[in-house]
């Protein structure tokens, strides 16, 4: 059946509604475009693939000094802790029935240690360490846990080669939501 004139008008109206609703579904658009380079002091995420790890390097020998002056008051001289939430060494997931969970016994990724210390520690002055000091003290905490020796140089490449004792101890359940 040929369409009457009002029919065309209606069609045009429907079409313009569709067009304007497309326009409305577009974004408000008030976000300001930025470049990743603008975020070099802001984006602190250091992921397990090494993305976000900065330049710099350090050894446990150097990190001992950082630890003694900046961490020991809360975490104990050898990382043994001053309370249950500040223990940094010890534990064994294989041999203990109710394992003590620490960086050494439990953490699956060495990058997490860099990421966390850089963003959150020392708890009384977070983000006050330089990247070099963070590498140094990360090396020292790994050394206290017997994972590396005191001369091993940590940087954004070597950190990725560290094998954490419990690296295979986790099951990703994110698909079960």
């Amino acid at each position: 059946m040929p369409m009457s004139k009002p029919g065309y008008v209606l069609l045009a109206f429907v079409a313009s509604c569709l067009l304007s609703s497309t326009a409305l579904s577009q974004t408000v658009g008030l976000g300001t475009p930025i470049e990743q380079t603008q975020l070099q002091n802001f984006d602190l995420i250091a992921g397990p693939d090494g993305e976000g790890l900065p330049d710099g390097s350090g050894t446990a020998l150097q990190g001992k000094l950082v630890f003694e002056s900046r961490c020991q008051a809360c975490h104990g001289a050898n990382g043994e802790g001053t309370g249950s939430s500040t223990i940094l060494v010890g534990g064994n997931m294989q041999t203990e029935a109710s394992p003590l969970k620490t960086v050494g016994s439990f953490w699956p990724h060495a990058t997490t240690l860099f990421d966390y210390i850089r963003r959150a520690m020392p708890a009384n002055a977070p983000k006050s360490l330089s990247n070099t000091e963070v590498y140094q003290v990360v090396a020292y905490v790994l050394y206290l846990n017997g994972i590396i020796n005191q001369y091993a140089v940590l940087n954004k490449d070597s950190l990725l080669t560290i094998q954490m004792p419990n690296k295979d101890g986790f099951l990703d359940r994110s698909h079960i939501q």
Partner: protein, 424 residues
């Protein structure tokens, strides 16, 4: 008035049909002040009280609660100099009714205290695997279309003392108070991610807060695009500082820690960032010492808030058992209550409005004759999940569990009327 003996008993040890809640008041003996003046017939005379004889203060700029309810407090502990700003405070569930927690009593958990954020200096950055990285000011976000939803928020470590070998002497607050309910208003996260343009390789969104701990959590992209909000308002007012002012991520139904407060960065990545609070913490170590990671939803659960731990029942007769139920996976469809330690169960009445991933209030009348009783509640959700017993949960999770405790909990009532946390 119907006599209690004529009420329909629906389960052991005094549970009465929830139908009696409709249209019938629960009697509670009204006690007149002992100083009451007696009339000629020896009966107390009612007088006009003093506050009816003098004008009170006028309107005020910001409302305050009655001095008579000021005892209702979160249980913030003493500050720990070795953990600056860290710690938690719990909601006084036993004093609250309905399903909305007042903002001033909403539970807290901070890892480095509450940052003093000036919204004019706060940015929300979206970067990583997007077509165009963007920064949003608080002011600009106020222009985006928002939605309002009722949701519960529960800390993953809530009720974890029930994993312990002995029942602690707690209250509903100290055992279960890392739980609150609110109406959250915010921008669907998908709106902001779409504006930045999601690249095909993105699978996760890493959310970071602007607190001194820069608390971070990785959220799967499919959840981020489903029902996650950038929340700006709670129960109608801008977020309180302790709840993330000026903005927080709100991840409905999932463990509270992932609803990152003081939200300042969303980075799209292919893999999770493996933050400390999704590896060292908030993972579930099973009996074989394997640890389950990214176990996000909070399970189907209910708690009796009255009568509850440390209360005393001072009279025999009719009581209303009430509490809240919730599930991170759907809507509460049924709550059953037992007064005899789980031997018999009766269905409780649910308040009319039930929302997915929100608190639902339940009630059932109970006649207490002075015998010992064991009060328990058991929730069922729209996926068919039934809240497990403590024994079943321990059998499934092993002895190393810490988070995600949704076990049925029991309040034991002694012959003297003392109510205490108990294991059956």
């Amino acid at each position: 008035m119907t006599k209690s003996t004529e009420w329909q008993r629906v389960a052991g040890n005094g549970l009465l049909s929830r139908r009696h809640l409709l249209g019938l008041g629960l009697s509670s003996a009204s006690v007149l002040a002992s100083s009451a003046v007696l009339g000629a017939d020896g009966k107390a005379l009612f007088e006009i009280p003093g506050w009816s004889r003098q004008a009170g203060p006028g309107p005020s700029g910001y409302g305050q609660r009655s001095v008579h309810t000021a005892f209702m407090q979160r249980d913030a502990g003493a500050p720990d100099p070795l953990y600056p700003g860290g710690g938690a405070s719990r909601s006084p569930l036993q004093h609250l009714q309905g399903t909305i927690t007042p903002n001033s009593l909403h539970f807290e958990r901070h890892h480095a205290g509450i940052p003093a954020i000036d919204p004019a200096g706060h940015q929300l950055v979206i970067n990583g695997l997007v077509k165009q990285a963007l920064a949003f000011s608080y002011e600009s976000l106020l222009s985006y279309p928002m939605v309002s939803r009722f949701y519960f928020l529960e800390c993953s470590g809530n009720s974890r003392s029930l994993y312990g070998a002995r029942p602690g002497n707690g209250t509903a607050q100290t055992i279960h108070g890392l739980l609150s309910g609110a109406e959250w208003t915010g921008i669907p996260l998908s709106t902001l991610l779409d504006e930045a343009g999601i690249l095909g390789s993105a699978q996760w969104v890493s959310a970071v807060g602007a607190d001194a701990a820069s608390m971070g959590r990785s959220v799967p992209l499919n959840k981020a695009l489903d029902d996650v909000l950038v929340a700006l308002y709670q129960n109608g007012e801008p977020l309180r500082p302790e709840q993330g002012y000026p903005m927080r991520l709100f991840v409905p139904g999932w463990e509270g820690n992932i609803s990152v407060k003081w939200l300042t960065q969303l980075k799209l990545t292919q893999e999770p960032s493996q933050f400390r609070d999704e590896t060292s913490k908030y993972t579930d170590t099973m009996a074989d010492k394997t640890s389950l990671q990214f176990t996000f939803p909070m399970g189907c659960k209910s708690v009796i808030t009255s009568p509850s731990g440390q209360m005393q029942l001072r009279r025999h007769g009719l009581y209303q058992i009430t509490g809240v139920a919730w599930s991170g996976n759907g809507t509460i469809t049924r709550v059953e209550v037992s007064a005899d330690g789980g031997q018999t169960w009766a269905e409780a009445m649910l308040d009319s409005a039930q929302h997915a991933k929100a608190l639902t209030r339940f009630r059932i009348p109970w006649s207490w004759d002075g015998a010992t009783a064991q009060l328990m509640s058991r929730a069922t959700d729209s996926t068919g999940a039934v809240q497990p017993t403590r024994t079943a949960l321990l059998a499934e999770r092993g002895e190393n569990s810490f988070y995600h405790c949704n076990a049925i909990q029991c309040w034991g009532v002694s012959a003297a009327g003392d109510v205490n946390n108990a294991y059956v």
